[in-house]
């Protein structure tokens, strides 16, 4: 099986795309990420992450319908792929496993 390498920012992007379901494109991804992270995100950095995700095969692109035109431009959507969801799942599982190994003594702090 291929090794899964997913940076923190990429993971956020991928999750957001998944959550936006069929309406994930540049502006919506940027805005919901900014709302989540509460900071400004450079659109360029977002594209670089999308490019890497696309290369790994975790997102697909889809050109928007005929009505969605803006000065002759076509809109490009991003969809999470099956492999993408799988990667997210693996990453989360791994993290959960590590988290569960935290000693009980330290978990107490959360309740305090």
């Amino acid at each position: 099986m291929k090794k899964i390498i997913l940076g923190a920012f990429e993971e956020m992007v991928l999750l957001t795309i998944g959550a936006l379901d069929t309406n994930a494109y540049g502006v919506t991804i940027k805005e919901s990420l900014e709302a989540q992270l509460k900071k400004r995100i450079s659109i360029g950095a977002l594209y670089a992450a999308l490019q890497r995700l696309e290369e790994k095969g975790w997102v697909d692109t889809r050109v928007g319908g005929i009505t969605e035109k803006q000065g002759g431009r076509r809109k490009q959507y991003f969809d999470i792929t099956k492999e993408g969801v799988f990667a997210l799942y693996k990453v989360r599982a791994m993290r959960n496993e590590l988290f569960d190994q935290l000693p009980e003594r330290k978990m107490q702090w959360l309740k305090g």
């Binding site: 450079s42 360029g44 890497r52």
Partner: protein, 874 residues
């Protein structure tokens, strides 16, 4: 959901941004980027306006390109990017191959750009004064002009009657808010047990907060000045006074007797404010405390600011101002028989208005700013010309390269692009170096001009303007060489028969232009230096060295000045002490002369100083008739001195013994006539002046003898402290106070010297490059001449005489321009040097010498070479 944009009110994103994306964005994201950026753009237009939206679009375009190119993987990198890469590589190689040429260009460009950016940043700062107020374009300051009442060369005054502002607001619906204001320097403020001396103590009406934009720290801004004894202080002042900012309700005591309650704290006003408020008292409250009337149209000693209702025509309102005079000032002619006119002035002009007396804060000198801007452009032009000259001169060495490119199929436009990219590379590398240099230079420059000038490296606007500056420089200096190179016919180019020096006419004109600028600068700087030298060494009519002065503001000490004077006299190293109302370089009080038998309507203003018996001797003023005050004969307040101008103005045939009313309510007799001296800066004429005799004023002048002035100063302080003063001990050297009047000119002169040096340096770099090129082209000719017996000096002459001619032409153009401009500048001084032929001659000589050395060095090396080396390969 996707946003539907109505095509009719769609605004197009900036072409530059779209072009950037289309040219450089990697293909797989081009569509995405174009769509997203446009959607964000349309949102921003509504939220932030067109300009901000445009800027954001361009910034985001850069971000996208940057991230995809450097951090992502640019897959289908466009043809343009590939060409750009190739061109950059070729340019870099060509620049590295000709190291000395590149170095010459870099040096020139960097120096030019550093000066240009520095001056731009500084002048932008100066011109940004008071532009941060929300109502900036509607705020108006009112000044008056008095018919015939001239003071220090102008009849305009920033001070107006106290009732003016409230009356204007009442009468004209166009006026929204109005405030009276006053300012006090050197004010003692007592807070609990501590004493502070404050220079920025103002008073105003509540409306002040509706006119100017302040930021609030604590208290309720709507009622800041609603109580008679309320005071607002700035944040830093609050920290200084109390060590904290939640100080509403605390008490401060001003002028040792008036208590005010702090009702609020405001953020410190920005540095680019004409006046900066530290303490702001209630105007009405202060006037009542000081027992002054606020309804007196005959007393002008306060400032007035108003804000206009949006859309008000300032000119129309101005025309109606005389109605006020007719209606309220029942006696429009004031006590001194002066008729006043009131003028509305937008505050954007306030900071640069030099000819208004008693302004609320010192104004800036717009003239020297324009001089700086002019110099900045000239230096940048010289640097640009260098590039054009060097590039065209060198072009001939590249004809083969161009020929090959054309044969292989390069189009003209491709070649032009390639050479433009080469210029761009050079320009942007220079810009990068310049910015590094600037960061090092800025603190030194700030302390030199005594203002906090900073560059906001975070601001996108700064980088965008740098980018544009680079683009402009690239186009202006690169387009001609690029066009010229691309024009070569390939066959001729390859055969090598493109004539060397064919286009030298154009280059010559550019060289002349460069040297015209350099010559003009050198001439301007010399005249400037001459005039300042003249001021420094002129006979002002009084001595200035070895004199220390104290300004006594303490009320208790003021009451016993004679005791203080006697105490200071006992200090060893002090030869003389004098008490006076003014120092001889700035006699500021002005009174209409009154004497028994004066015709009713005859008004002769005299500048008035109140001095003691030792004043004339201490400052070594000259008596031309009669005698000095004499403690044996003259009683206090009963004797008077006039200067020659006063005698002339009064028209008195035999002035000695005549009577004159004094400020103290009695008459005094004229005992002597003073020789005219410069009682103001040399910008102004010498005016009629009188000296009253009284030993009770605020300035103490101490004449020192011997070398150990530090010891004397220490004893001075000790003596002063014995009086248990409220104010701390401060002293000045009289020479420094004298110099202060010319600080702006001195600064301009020093900067002008630096800039002139730089301009000449840059021009010489270019000249050196051209000489090198010329020598190279004629190396065979030189070889042949030497073989046939020409001497080294003949060859030197042969190669240099063209340049000398160019320089002479440049000088002939520059001299009249410089003469005209500097003559105008000198007219600003009532007393000035005449422009001297010698100055011009010396400047020409200096230029010839510098240029001669530059060209001579290069040509000498060629002339002494063994001709065999030049001739052996063919």
């Amino acid at each position: 959901m996707a946003q539907r944009i109505n095509p009719e009110n769609r605004k197009n994103p900036p072409r530059l941004g779209e072009w950037l994306l289309e040219s450089f964005c990697s293909y797989d994201f081009l569509n995405t980027a174009l769509w997203d950026l446009e959607e964000i753009y349309q949102k921003n237009i509504r939220k932030k306006g067109k300009l901000r939206a445009d800027l954001i679009y361009i910034r985001q375009a850069f971000e996208v390109i940057y991230h995809l190119y450097l951090k992502g993987k640019s897959h289908h990198s466009s043809n343009r990017t590939a060409m750009l890469n190739n061109n950059l590589k070729i340019s870099l190689r060509s620049l590295l191959k000709n190291k000395s040429y590149t170095l010459l260009n870099l040096l020139g460009l960097v120096s030019g750009l550093v000066v240009f950016i520095l001056i731009t940043v500084y002048t932008t700062y100066e011109f940004s004064f008071d532009n941060y107020h929300e109502k900036g374009d509607r705020i108006v300051r009112i000044y008056k002009s008095d018919n015939g009442n001239f003071y220090q060369g102008t009849n305009k005054y920033a001070v107006v009657p106290a009732p003016l502002a409230p009356t204007l607001k009442e009468e004209f619906p166009q006026i929204e808010f109005a405030t009276r204001m006053s300012r006090d320097y050197n004010t003692v403020v007592e807070v609990n047990d501590q004493v502070f001396v404050e220079d920025n103590v103002f008073s105003a009406d509540q409306d002040v907060f509706d006119i100017f934009s302040f930021e609030y720290v604590s208290g309720n801004p709507d009622t800041y000045l609603s109580e008679l004894r309320s005071a607002v202080i700035s944040e830093s002042t609050s920290l200084k006074f109390f060590g904290r900012t939640d100080v509403v309700g605390e008490t401060i005591r001003c002028w040792e007797r008036y208590d005010f309650q702090v009702s609020g704290v405001i953020k410190d006003m920005p540095k680019n404010s004409h006046f900066v408020i530290d303490v702001l008292l209630n105007f009405e409250g202060l006037m009542i405390a000081r027992k002054r009337r606020t309804d007196n149209w005959n007393n002008s000693s306060h400032y007035a600011f108003v804000s206009l209702v949006e859309g008000t025509d300032l000119g129309q309102l101005q025309n109606r101002i005389p109605e006020i005079r007719a209606k309220y000032a029942d006696d429009p002619i004031d006590e001194d028989g002066q008729e006043s006119d009131y003028y509305l002035q937008p505050i954007s002009e306030m900071h640069f208005t030099k000819d208004v007396n008693f302004d609320i804060a010192p104004s800036a000198d717009a003239q020297s700013l324009y001089i700086y801007i002019g110099i900045a452009f000239m230096i940048l032009t010289i640097a640009g010309i260098n590039y054009v000259n060097l590039a065209t001169a060198r072009a001939l060495n590249r004809t083969k390269e161009i020929g090959i490119r054309k044969v292989i199929g390069a189009q003209k436009s491709t070649l032009i692009k390639q050479y433009l990219i080469e210029s761009a590379l050079l320009v942007y590398v220079s810009l990068a170096i310049s910015i590094v240099v600037l960061t090092g230079l800025l603190p030194a420059f700030s302390s030199f001009i005594d203002k906090q000038v900073t560059i906001d490296f975070q601001s996108f606007e700064f980088w965008l303007s740098i980018l544009f500056l680079g683009a402009a420089m690239t186009l202006l200096s690169g387009i001609y060489p690029a066009l010229m190179l691309a024009k070569f016919k390939p066959t001729l180019a390859l055969k090598g028969s493109v004539k060397a020096g064919g286009k030298s006419m154009f280059r010559n004109i550019l060289v002349i232009f460069q040297f015209t600028i350099s010559c003009a600068l050198i001439l301007g700087a010399s005249v400037l230096a001459n005039q300042l030298n003249y001021i420094q060494n002129m006979d002002s009519g009084y001595v200035r060295d070895q004199i220390v002065v104290l300004d006594i503001d303490d009320r208790e000490i003021r009451a016993e000045m004679k005791v203080l004077k006697e105490a200071i006299k006992t200090i060893p190293g002090v030869s003389m002490v004098s008490i006076s109302n003014s120092l001889p370089n700035n006699i500021s009080s002005n009174t209409n002369a009154t004497w028994p038998g004066r015709p009713e309507d005859l008004r002769i203003p005299l500048y008035t100083n109140v001095v003691d018996f030792d004043y004339v001797d201490l400052f070594e003023l000259e008596i031309v008739e009669g005698r000095n005050f004499d403690p044996e004969i003259d009683k206090q307040q009963k004797a008077l001195l006039l200067n020659e101008s006063a005698v002339k103005a009064l028209g008195w045939e035999e002035p000695i013994g005549r009577q004159m009313m004094t400020w103290f309510g009695d008459t005094a007799r004229v005992v002597g006539i003073l020789k005219d001296f410069h009682q103001h800066s040399v910008h102004l004429e010498i005016e009629p002046t009188q000296f009253f005799l009284r030993e009770q004023s605020g300035w103490v002048s101490v004449k020192l003898e011997g070398e150990n002035s530090d010891e004397v100063l220490a004893s001075l302080e000790a003596k002063y402290e014995e009086f248990d003063p409220l104010y701390p001990f401060t002293y000045y050297f009289f020479q420094d106070i004298f110099d202060r009047a010319y600080r702006s000119e001195m600064r301009t002169a020093e900067l002008a010297n630096w800039f002139t040096g730089l301009a000449i340096l840059i021009a010489c770099l270019g000249l050196y490059g051209l000489a090198a090129h010329k020598v190279q082209n004629r190396i065979k000719e030189v070889g042949v001449r030497k073989v046939l017996g020409a001497s080294v000096s003949r060859i030197l002459l042969l190669l240099s005489k063209d340049f000398a001619l160019l320089l002479l032409i440049a000088f002939a153009i520059a001299a009249p321009i410089a003469y005209f401009v500097m003559d105008g500048w000198l007219d600003g001084f009532a007393y000035h040097v005449e422009i001297n032929i010698m100055t011009f001659f010396l400047a020409l000589l200096a230029m010839l010498l510098v240029a001669g050395l530059t060209v001579g060095y290069r040509t000498y090396r060629a002339a002494v070479r063994n001709p065999v080396e030049a001739l052996r390969d063919e």
